[in-house]
Amino acid sequence: MTPTEIAVVALAAGGVFFTLVAVVGLLRLPDLYTRAHAASKSDTLGAVLALGAAALSFGAGVPTVKIVLLLLFMFITNPTAAHAITRAAYDQGIEPWTADEEGER
């Protein structure tokens, strides 16, 4: 295997792993705000790693430039969207989860 192939395989595996972390967090965490935390950070990192794998496997050319632009766009807008949704929830008066209310998840 060439070093490029090894890098593509490693980046794709990292992308799948961090997407798995994001999905587990989205299903298991107790609160809207903690779920937004999982969705904004883990899912963004997984998307960036997987798009990096796709960009490396295309080689030099116009498609690689497109994927890198897509990567930068998602890197900026994914946490921004989660932040806007969370701020809308806070403005609507949804209370954050605290450790006092056990047994409810």
Binding site: V16, V23, L26, D43, S57, K66, L69, D91
Partner: protein
């Protein structure tokens, strides 16, 4: 541009399949989610995973035209989240 063959192509298709499976699991949060913002966050995650799947399949099949679809999908996904979070608040003080 030709398709990526061999191990790398298989790995890209397998990663796309794994992410698609995980995305289907997120539908549970869309159906269940107690508040509407839970559902919006889950739909946002589904959209960004869809963008990643389209880009991975574009790389695996050697079709650069799919990337334009992925780019437009990412733009629409971001606009959807911002618009929903803006218009569900009473006076829309999000932006």
């Amino acid at each position: 541009m030709s398709a990526v063959t061999g191990l790398v192509g298989d790995v890209l298709v397998a990663a796309a399949g794994a992410i698609a499976t995980l995305t289907a699991v997120v539908l549970y949060r869309v159906a269940r989610g107690p508040t509407m913002q839970d559902r919006v966050i889950a739909v946002n995650v589904i959209g960004s995973n869809t963008v990643v799947i389209i880009a991975l399949l574009a790389a695996a099949f050697g079709e650069p035209g799919f990337l334009d679809v992925a780019l437009i999908y990412a733009l629409l996904n971001f606009l959807m989240s911002i618009a929903i979070s803006k218009f569900t608040v009473e006076r829309g003080g999000i932006i």
